[in-house]
Amino acid sequence: METMLFLPELLLILLALVCFVVSLGKNPRTALLQGAVITFSILALLVTAANYQHSGTLFFGAYQIDQLSQLFKLVLCAGLALIAWATPGLRGIEKRLHPEYYLFLTVSTLGLVMLSSAVELLTIFLALEISSYALFVAIPFRQPMNGRQQYEASLKYVLFGAAASGLSLFGMSYIFGLSGTTYLAELSPLLPGLISSQPLAVAGMILLLCGFFYKLALFPMHFWTPDVYQGAANETTTFIATLPKIGAVILLLRLISLAGVDISQLSWALGILAVASMTIGNLSALVQNDIKRLLAYSSVAHAGYLMLGIIAGSTLGHAAAIYYAVGYLLMNLACFFVLYHLSSDNRNLKLDDLNGLYRRAPLLAFVLAAGIFSLAGIPPTIGFTGKFVLFTSAFQQGLYGLVVLGLINAAISIFFYLKIIRAAYLTNTDADSSAVSINLSSKLLGLGLIFAIILLGVLPQQLLALAKAAVAYL
């Protein structure tokens, strides 16, 4: 029974081993590897789905499987499969490193999957590091045709990551020093009292959260985002921009809900970070010309929106954060899917490179439009419904100031999202640009993404109900 609960993780470990074995050979076949990654992650997804209702604890209570962790594992496994599907051929990665590349993506996902089940501070830290270290290695795998920016990106990611982990660990030491335990279950009755009586506990919590702010790219831990997005290969950025954020959300949910129902001590600090994140992200994105940098700053802003639901703290707020995280995965995947297929020579795309996209690749243009309009929060996309639920939950908790500032930010962000749409739809093709052709499976993925973004936006109740049921386990 317990093995069944741990089976998704075992499958991912098996997948990592397969990749490792393949990496020992001379001529790796990327298509087969891609197939293996998709198959294994879908298997892991199916196993998780089959055990969705089950719950239990493993490893002396450090590892907990419940509906919350299962929901996130579903999303993470689906995310890994989609990312592998969206980036066929790994054009941007050196050929001989393909097996290693998939190996590290798998290990990073494994870390995130473990993170969603970890309920003990050291386990959390371990899972966090597993997911980060794998990426530190994967970022410099980019084809060395673009100077050395991938090394710079990797180094920045390492340095910021190490600093964030250090802060996190430091915060844990305070929490442990005050409470005498590292188990979240034992912390949860103690922490509300500590937070209201001991300023040190507030400082400890904020420091502890820094590690996850880093993953989520929330101000002030966001500085790595634009450079890493820009320096990493398009396929690596697709991964960095999506899955680690999902992992960060679950831990933020778990840790902040520890602080109890009345989190006013924390919420003003988190509120400031959320608003600063939205504002800095959106204002910086206004002046970007490199699309990946633009999306990086937009992700900083979205981290801010997402925090609204977490700060609201109600069931609806938490469910909204989960719903929005899923939506964020889909819409970012849609955007990066298009970027990957457009950038046939693995360059970073500028806004001008999108010119006349509606003629060169109508389907890609439409996928991009769906993703961008969803990021901008325009109905009937999942981005709109997500923002709507987030703002509603924050409003219900009386966070009027945050809601108004969030809405103003949403209005600002329209400008740079429209720049992308305008380039793709309203400018004419240059003479030398040719049609972009994509194969059938990518077409299917594109249609599927559009479908999911709109369908989940129009009919959100199933996903919201799942999320609400999941947050009951917090």
Partner: protein, 549 residues
């Protein structure tokens, strides 16, 4: 508490929406869903047609079919009740209490009819104007029609907002793809203004939902909220609607958008989209925040007067005909908001009639500008001079609609402006006197336009040169153009001489609306403008203190 009359049997009793909101559908088929789906399905099916001609015929067919399908709204409309009619309710998101609820009352029904009747003309005036990407153009046009009808018929705040936002992208595309030289600037400006406004509208919708747990408009109208809450709701909604109307000082997107948009886009903007703002005031601000309405009334009257006068004054100085009409729209819509915020029977009826009339007259004027632009490739008054001899039929229509535009007796706008002025004089003579200035300005700029375009001194050669500098004779209107304009001319004189049928349709609903906001009389002091102005500062400070979490 403010429940009108005895309820008719309620056929769609499905649980969440109960009989108490007094809504019904007198037809045995869902007419409003038909109106919403016809253009939408037409838009999707239209993508199958390849040739431009087929596109145009299909678009015309779909819009005419929608127009015909909407006629029962006029013939079967029950003029004796303020209840919502032709109502349909379907569950959509039970978790959030969100239903698909549509219906019309005396306030929205005329605007729905205006939309369905103007859209075929938008197709007709694009017949030779649009030269590229016809398939996308027709798609966008039909989607806009669905979205606009959707806004007018929504009985659910979130549904209203969805349709409201759904207009944004297609209209943006229409300006940005088929627009003129500065289309980038104009389209972005349009999008940003409208989106920024609607964001606060969304905040108000959320606030109403959190306060009452309901998105259902008739239910929200029954609630009485605290003054502070009303004031915030009012401001949030009013910002969105004031951008749309547009009201000074939020009007600057309009001239840019109008001038750059293709003819069909200008007609849609002028005839229908601006009305969404006025409609929003009537549907949201007045009934849901009556006390706040009374409280903010002096300010909105003031802004309306500034819109009337500034719009007229700016129109007087334009040499670009399209820009002139665009600024005149600001002035005419100023009469609409003025009428609404006089908060009495004549004022609101005048405002609603003025919305219809502005839709007809200004729509026609934009069609006329499109026609002359197709012939001379210029919108400058100095180029399009002395057309009287060459294009007599054109000039005839130009004359009719220009007279209508400044409210010449016997034309449609006279009736509505007269009603608004009557309301203004009976309440605040000073306001009436200032509004008269706007009416005089309108006469001045329209006569200047007429004088220059029709009779101006032609020195005999060179005015209508083509690119090679060869003078040539301009062709007068063809049958399609005459048909388009004649259709609108009927309404100019019908409403001008016999507006009673339209006034009858809105009568009961307006009375009901006045009932709903009448309570404010005691709170803010109807005749005491000074009092309202002097206590403004105190109350604003009070409002701001409520911002604290």
């Amino acid at each position: 508490m403010r429940r009108p009359g005895q309820g008719m049997p309620y056929p769609y009793n499905q649980g969440t929406i109960v009989e108490q909101y007094l809504i019904f559908n007198q037809l045995n088929y869902p007419i409003i869903s038909v109106l919403l789906l016809l253009p939408l399905i037409g838009a999707v099916l239209g993508l199958l047609f390849k040739s431009d001609k087929a596109q145009l015929r299909w678009g015309l067919g779909v819009t005419v079919a929608t127009a015909l399908a909407s006629l029962p709204l006029y013939t079967q409309f029950d003029r004796t009740t303020a209840l919502y009619q032709f109502v349909e309710v379907r569950h959509w998101l039970p978790a959030l209490g969100l239903d698909y609820a549509v219906g019309v009352d005396g306030i929205s029904v005329l605007l729905v009819l205006l939309t369905t009747l103007v859209m075929p003309l938008c197709v007709l005036c694009s017949w030779s104007y649009i030269k590229e990407r016809m398939r996308e153009f027709m798609f966008v046009l039909l989607v806009i029609e669905t979205a606009m009808i959707g806004v007018f018929v929504s009985l659910n705040t979130l549904l209203f907002f969805l349709f409201w936002e759904a207009m944004l992208i297609p209209m943006y595309l229409m300006i940005a793809i088929w627009g003129g030289a500065r289309k980038d600037y104009a389209s972005i400006k349009y999008f940003l203004y409208t989106f920024a406004g609607s964001i606060f509208f969304l905040a108000s919708i959320i606030a109403l939902y959190v306060q009452t747990g309901s998105f259902f408009i008739p239910e929200l109208m029954e609630h009485s909220f605290s003054f502070t809450f009303q004031a915030w709701i009012f401001l949030g909604c009013a910002l969105a609607f004031a951008v749309k109307v547009p009201m000074f000082p939020l009007h600057t997107w309009l001239p840019a958008a109008h001038v750059e948009a293709p003819t069909a886009g200008s007609v849609i903007l002028a005839s229908i989209m601006l009305k969404l703002g006025g409609y929003g005031f009537l549907r949201f601000c007045l009934p849901m925040a009556p006390e706040a309405t009374w409280y903010f009334m002096p300010w909105l009257i003031g802004l309306s007067l500034i819109s009337i006068i500034v719009g007229g004054y700016l129109a007087l100085g334009q040499s670009d005909i399209k820009k002139l009409i665009a600024y005149s729209s600001v002035g005419h819509m100023g009469f609409v908001t003025l009428g609404i915020f006089l908060l009495n029977d004549q004022g609101i009826k005048g405002a609603m009639l003025q919305m219809i009339n502005h839709g007809i007259t200004t729509g026609a004027l934009f069609i006329l500008i499109g026609i002359i632009y197709e012939r001379t490739h210029s919108r400058e008054m100095s180029v399009n001079r002395a057309l009287g001899a060459m294009m007599p039929v054109y000039v005839l229509f130009l004359g009719i609609f220009s007279l209508s535009s400044f409210g010449f007796p016997g034309t449609n706008s006279f009736v509505s402006e007269f009603l608004v002025l009557l309301a203004a004089f009976s309440k605040y003579p000073l306001v009436g006197a200032l509004a008269i200035v706007g009416a005089i300005l309108a006469a001045a700029y329209m006569l200047r336009l007429l004088q220059s375009m029709v009779w101006a001194d032609s020195d005999g050669h060179g005015h209508h040169d083509d690119e090679q500098g060869n003078g040539h004779i301009l062709k007068d209107l063809n049958a399609r153009e005459i048909g388009t304009l004649s259709f609108l001319t009927i309404f100019v004189f019908w409403i001008g001489f016999y507006p009673t049928p339209l006034l009858e349709m809105m009568d009961v609903s307006v009375t009901h609306l006045i009932d709903q906001i009448g309570d404010g009389l005691n709170q803010a002091g109807d005749d005491n403008l000074h009092h309202a102005f002097s206590s403004w500062g105190n109350k604003m400070t009070g409002l701001l203190t409520t911002l604290k979490p």
